[in-house]
Symmetry: C2
Subunit: 296 residues, 2 copies
């Protein structure tokens, strides 16, 4: 099996990581580094995006006046890479909490900008996202999501449910999401992550079997959980954190017919405003990924 699948990936396809990984990024695709307003970036690219209205782009509330529905988060900075699920998590959380107008900079993994001094100052592991609110640094995407919900409880959508049963399921699925993510990464990156002399077909097979078992578990979860979201009836931090991973697996060719519940979830959430507004720009340019997971 060695050499199959992953070696055929376009380099654009490999921008799927961020934090939680130990890799260099020499193989990744060129993305021009750009510091632009989020609204400009997405308005230009997304055909049906939820645009930031002109009013909110230019309106500065007088001191003392807070808008009930959204905050101009000018004291937040996000350094991010396109197509990285950890970066996407944080961007979805910011949208859900109606935190608009934050400073952000799209960096190129290909140019190793994630190892630049600018990133290393905020994130000494040299990974993206690198995020801060004022002088509070939150580079771990799960940490940033938990913090944003805690600090902006009454703003935007509530992401931690009150009902103890939904709460328990939410934390459980959210944290299990890290296992799904890691198994996906192990499968996708084997060929370029493992040095040539250390590659073994048996390892490729074992990693694929482990990912397959994991995906079946999630299909089962969605069969048992009614309500349409990972923790029941409410969109929650579990969805914020795990959706980018599930999306990536389908982008890499997972068969929708074989995993109907996961596919329904994947397709339904595509249209959620927070997800649409933060869609990875390189994936707009290349809507289809390689089909390396089609046989799972």
């Amino acid at each position: 099996m060695r050499g199959q699948g992953v070696s055929h990936l376009s380099r654009l396809e490999l921008q799927i990581l961020g934090d939680n990984t130990k890799m260099g990024w020499g193989l990744l695709a060129p993305i021009r580094s750009q510091t632009v307003s989020r609204s400009l970036l997405y308005n230009r690219r997304l055909p049906h995006s939820s645009f930031t209205p002109y009013f909110f782009q230019h309106f500065q509330p007088p001191s003392g006046l807070t808008l009930p529905s959204e905050t101009m988060a000018k004291d937040m900075t996000l350094l991010w890479g396109s197509g990285s699920p950890p970066c996407w998590r944080v961007m979805i959380a910011l949208e859900e909490k109606n935190l608009k107008g934050y400073n952000h900079k799209l960096l190129s993994f290909d140019k190793k900008e994630h190892k630049s001094e600018e990133v290393m100052k905020m994130n000494p592991r040299g990974q993206l996202p690198a995020f801060k609110h004022g002088d509070k640094v939150l580079n771990e995407s799960y940490a940033a999501c938990l913090y944003l919900e805690n600090q902006f409880k009454s703003q935007g959508n509530k992401l931690i449910p009150d009902c103890p049963a939904e709460l328990a399921l939410m934390y459980q699925r959210m944290l299990e999401g890290l296992t799904l993510h890691q198994k996906m990464i192990d499968d996708i990156t084997y060929n370029w992550k493992v040095p040539e002399g250390e590659k073994h077909d048996s390892a490729v097979k074992r990693i694929r079997e482990s990912l397959t078992a994991e995906i079946k578990l999630w299909e089962g979860y969605l069969q048992k959980t009614s309500g349409g979201f990972l923790a029941g009836k409410t969109f929650s931090l579990a969805d914020v954190c795990v959706y980018p991973t599930i999306f990536t697996i389908f982008r890499f060719g997972l068969c929708e017919e074989r995993y109907p519940k996961l596919a329904a979830y994947y397709n339904r959430l595509k249209d959620r405003p927070s997800i649409k507004a933060s869609w990875p720009p390189t994936w707009l340019e290349n809507p289809r990924g390689e089909d390396i997971m089609k046989d799972i």
Copy 2:
């Protein structure tokens, strides 16, 4: 380097995992499965343990009466393995929240009891801990800790700080702890985790270098953070989650002189009641681990 270090581990030393892992446990040491009250178990073993007083072992509060300082958590069940940091996290959190008298069962990794029907019903990955509160299942140790703090906010010690700066640091260190844990596990388990034909000295070296860089990062964190805990002046969920990993690294021989801040933290928290009361019983029997990390 192949064959060094890990192959000399006593089998008892290998009981350091739980959730967040993908391994079978055929090599692990025999521990007799036992269902006993926690207080009996620890009272017998720990010389200075914080015993559960007789009153609380036998007192049943009348319906409607809650005790301000501790709760008889008879609707909680924990299946656990000795020496597993993920299991230890949950036990420390239960102690911190003064949740006493929960049902628990010590299982043997060596006998593959973590793959038993009893565990699989609660945790389909066949890992420990397997934890539930009523019918709410929380097998991911981080999920269980977050849930317990959320549901028992006003009981025992507060584990999520109010101060935004401490809160941000708490979430960041807590989630970074998973990276430290994974790098430790990769190092310790390489020789028995990787099949014989797939072992490479170059991989052992790379894993060791990655762990070394990670440990240096944490030594630096503790140099910069005043207050004695991972997120400052207050013992928090970051300590609950990361201390068992740091303890395990020292148990495997990390040089205290070379990492003085980490060593001071490791030694100071040994005496914390929640940690003392939940000390892994197999580590009481074998207080010293193998010195496989002495050269880091």
